[in-house]
């Protein structure tokens, strides 16, 4: 038996979570370093996954497959395609930064200061590792039921992270803040639970259909279902396919989130600490868009095409709506949350444009949005912690007293507005061009988003960083070494992937090609093939 690399990649953070939780009370620092160590080990493993992955090889690689619940055909099946392996790496890259940025976030809670019996720090770091483990296995799973379990289960640690560790920088009293925090956490849980329950019904429906048609041997295995359908053994009726598709899509649209199911995100991101908000939006939410690409399109190609017009409209509305609301926000973190809603609109638009540029762009967008949001929001977190407020109006002139902080914030902001030269530009342009080539109107409206993005980012920068130094800002310290260790590598990544995204696109492209052939779509051909001559010349060389 081959070495179960994927299992180990997911198991290491899970073991890390248990180990961190078991660190004796009061030993906060030990718990932090232990957790960071495990997250770095996961990063190494994720890098090994990528190194062992052969782009253009078998569709699912590094596979593992074991029977689990035989009665229901549930299997423990893992395998990654180019999209999954990239997203595993993204999660593994971001978590250490999340930990470093949140190094002190669990050291003071609601006026309690650490004493000998202090345990929240252990809890905080253990929960982050637990989320990472569940996210990783969701990316790796090729069994629908296995995926579903972790897709749902990750809500639990996430709920505690949101509800238990606020940033205590809201404008209200501490009690009121605690109330808002628990409201946000419950809202997060409820929305996603409802989505999950509807998906559960669809998962069961899928099982029933497969059991019925495959002679009693129902299955949740994605490769098996695809194979059965290709060989004609399995045929979903149009109605069944559409209903089951809707069940799946609803859950993913809540998690992503797609307009108008987005309202939990600003609350959750606003109330949680910046690192937790990054974990949520840059890592956990990606499971939603990833699952659209993997499950909706592959399992239900016809239904996906049937729903495309509505989904495109919702995505475009989300892009513009999210951006407009970001412009109107007074709270830094809520502003970034609405910006993310706009960006999720781009990702979903790219997926359902069903062109290779759209889908490769959308996948790359997931990666780049993860990095750019981390850069912007983690630095915003440093800013908020210093001032003890997240209201934009409480800031002004930071650039004068803390130029490094202002500079890194600016780069994060420029990435968010997709400035060419930084990574998000490439993915956003691919999504736009991929959409435009099939749906020109949607493409043009979505392009308006780039003007609005400039508006909300630059207004945020202007109000917080420029102008005369405001009261409460005078003594603000510039970035510390730990904070620089967070910001600098993220910025370097943004620059690197802005100028040389090829290593990532090379991994993604073959997987997108497979997905597009699942839905029987090919890229629209240009009217005049001017590049044909050039390409022919190149091959001749």
């Amino acid at each position: 038996m081959a070495f179960p690399l994927l299992t180990v990649t997911a198991a290491v953070p899970a073991v890390g979570a248990i180990a961190t939780a078991a660190v004796p009370a009061g030993r906060r620092t030990a718990a932090k370093w232990l957790a960071l160590g495990f997250s770095l080990a996961t990063l190494v493993l994720a890098a090994v996954d990528v190194a062992r992955f052969t782009p253009g090889g078998a569709r699912y690689q590094l596979t593992e497959s074991h029977a689990w619940i035989r009665d229901f055909g549930v299997r423990y099946e893992l395998g990654v395609d180019g999209i999954a392996v990239v997203l595993v790496l993204l999660a593994a890259v971001l978590v250490p930064f999340v930990m470093l940025a949140g190094w002190h976030d669990a050291d003071v809670l609601d006026g309690h200061t650490p004493n000998r019996n202090w345990r929240p720090t252990q809890g905080f770091f253990a929960l982050i590792l637990l989320v990472e483990a569940m996210v990783v296995i969701s990316f790796e799973s090729t069994d629908v039921f296995l995926f579903y379990i972790f897709f749902e289960a990750m809500l639990i640690p996430m709920y505690f992270l949101i509800g238990g560790f606020g940033d205590r920088a809201g404008p209200k009293s501490e009690d009121e803040q605690a109330r808002q925090r628990s409201y946000a956490a419950v809202k997060f849980l409820l929305y996603n639970l409802v989505g999950g329950l509807i998906m559960l019904a669809a998962v069961i429906g899928l099982y029933v259909v497969t059991a019925h048609q495959l002679g009693g041997h129902g299955t949740f295995s994605l490769p098996q279902i695809l194979q059965a359908r290709a060989s004609g053994q399995l045929h979903l009726s149009t109605a069944a396919e559409r209903w089951i598709f809707l069940g799946f899509f609803f859950a993913f649209a809540v998690k992503a989130p797609l307009w108008p199911l987005h309202t939990w995100l600003p609350n959750a991101m606003g109330e949680s600490t910046a690192p937790v908000a990054v974990l949520l939006t840059a890592v956990v939410d990606k499971v939603g868009t990833f699952a659209m690409l993997r499950y909706c399109l592959q399992l239900f190609p016809e239904a996906s095409k049937w729903a495309t017009p509505v989904i495109l409209v919702l995505s475009v509305v989300g892009i513009i709506y999210g951006a407009l609301l970001a412009v109107g926000q007074r709270d830094i973190k809520r502003l970034i949350a609405y910006a993310s809603i706009s960006h999720f609109g781009f990702i979903i638009l790219g997926i359902f444009a069903m062109t290779s540029q759209g889908q490769s762009g959308a996948t790359l967008y997931m990666v780049n949005h993860g990095i750019s949001t981390a850069a912007l929001l983690l630095v915003a977190g440093f800013l908020i912690t210093r001032r003890g407020s997240r209201l934009i109006a409480d800031f002004g002139g930071v650039q004068k007293v803390a130029p490094l902080l202002a500079g890194t914030f600016m780069v994060g902001g420029l990435a968010t507005l997709s400035l060419p030269g930084l990574a998000p530009f490439v993915s956003e342009f691919l999504v736009l061009v991929g959409t435009f080539s099939r749906y020109p109107v949607a493409g043009v409206i979505a392009t308006l988003g780039i003007v609005l993005a400039a508006l909300y980012v630059l207004v945020l920068y202007q109000r917080t960083m420029t102008g005369p130094v405001k009261a409460g800002i005078e003594g603000m310290k510039d970035l510390k070494v730990r904070e620089l260790v967070v910001a600098a590598p993220l910025i370097a990544l943004l620059l690197f992937l802005g100028f040389y995204p090829k290593p990532v696109t090379d991994l993604i492209n073959p997987a997108v090609k497979d997905t597009l052939s699942d839905v029987h779509r090919t890229d629209p051909a240009p009217q005049i093939n001017a590049s044909f001559n050039a390409a022919a010349k190149e091959t001749a060389k």
Partner: protein
Amino acid sequence: MDHLIGALIGAPLLGAGILLVGGRRLDRVGHWIGCLLAAVSFGIGAALFADMLGKPTDQRTLTSHLYSWVPVGGFRADVAFQLDQLSMTFVLLITGVGTLIHIYSIGYMAHDENRRRFFGYLNLFLAAMLLLVLADNYLLLYVGWEGVGLASYLLIGFWQHKPSAATAAKKAFIVNRVGDMGLSIAIMVLFTTYGTFSFGPVFAHATGASQAKLTVIGLLLLLGACGKSAQVPLQSWLGDAMEGPTPVSALIHAATMVTAGVYLVTRSGAIFNAAPTAQLAVCVVGAVTLMFGAIVGCAKDDIKKALAGSTMSQIGYMMLAAGLGPIGYVFAIMHLVTHGFFKAGLFLGAGSVMHGMNDEVDMRKYGGLRRYMPITYVTFGLGYLAIIGFPGLSGYWSKDKIIEAAFAKGGTEGWILGGVALLGAGITAYYMTRVMVLTFFGEERWEPAPDPDKTPGVEPGIEVHPGELPHPHESPRSMTIPMVILAFGSVFAGGLFSINSAFLKWLEPVTGHSEGHSPVSTWEVTAATLVVLVVGGALAWAQYGRRPVPVTAPRGSLVTRAARRDLLQDDFNHIVLVRGGEHLTRSLVYLDHSLVDGAVNGTAASVGGLSARLRQVQNGYVRSYAVSMLGGTAVLVAATLLMRAV
């Protein structure tokens, strides 16, 4: 030689990297690093130029393919460069004027504690601008295009603690983004039409597309050009951009970046030539902006803003010429180069005046400065003669050709465009004479310097002595030498270019050229231009030279007042876009909370209440964790049971 193209961009990019990442320890040498790398880039450019001159005309294009940038399906964007005569012209202008302005900035920014950062941004600008003119495809051009926008944003807002500077920077970026949207959609249309957006294949197959497609592409490119080149209707940012340090106004907002739109139209000549409707739109935009900028330039008392109006107007001339097609491309670029010399020189002169005048920008508080700043006076004066098109000087050669070409367009259009261009020449003479007279002649209307703490509009780069009358003095050598060199360019460049039609022959292989049939002869155009020039200049002299100038501006006619406010275009923007937008976002924020969220609010609120009650059970989180954990497990168990039931 082709590997040197990368180095051309690489040198200033390296400088930007070193200066911005290097931090405070480079403060003492930062400006030298910046100047050195700008000069290196110019040196490489000159070497490439010499090499190019040594080759036969049809083999002058150099290409350099660095690497494959974004390959996805049929979408292939490469980092690849193309250096032909058109790009070479820009390279020499950008690096040449760029280096001079780097040197000037050593003196100008001497008192600024962030001088290193300033040079870092300047280097970044050079790199982005070179990328813009050297890219061999539209997507890479777009990187340079937004890159110069970023540099412009950073430099306009260089004195970020001034709210006006921060606002102006933001405005410039956002207005430019509207134009950039046009350019990015143009790239998308190019891709769906031709399957590529590389210059070579697109231009080779340009005429294969339908007329409608070509018109759409042309208009979208024009929208992009309007943003970057401050053409109506996207011109509103340029006047505010004068908040940036004066060397920035000279380099970016006069000589190079703002001419990028003219480059874009000229570069895309193959497309525009096949889309007459788009071409006409380019001409109209050029003609309207030409008048708009000139009228605004007449009314401004702020020397930099008057010059900014003039820049807008002169770029209007270039646009007009570029819209004329092969008759005009060469003269558009020639005017662009000569304008690069004299406008950069004028701005540097204005900076020198401000340097000596406690950073005063109001021309009504100047007067009689020719006695105190002789070098500035002479160089500025030569720039003045060049821009109004005084016979023999640079502007004369390029502008007259544009006026002639406009008439040659033929028909009513030709008469209108030619007439506007001719009238514009008269207004140019008027507002430039006004600037010249108010600044260097007449009485000394100086006033004590304001307190910089109370008036945030002051350029902090300059040492100001509050409460004292200015002691005008000539600027240091690092500032005057660049001014002198630019003055030489202002005087001789146009004439040199016109010997034997040298410039035309140089660019023709790239842009093509056709002689039009002008209804008016060359000497008639020259004579008419001279007449309007003299009339315009005389009017200004009569108004400002013969009579004492009031220090506070008179109320003025309705037109004057409108022109001072940029012909109310800004007020329109403010009321419709800014106010309207604020109302829109505010109502949306409200709706999102009450309507979209409200649907589930009831449920969530009741559960929120439940959770609050749970929290009250003593010792906060630990127990509520347990309860919620239990809840989660219950859901999973229920799910499994449900499974069994099916």
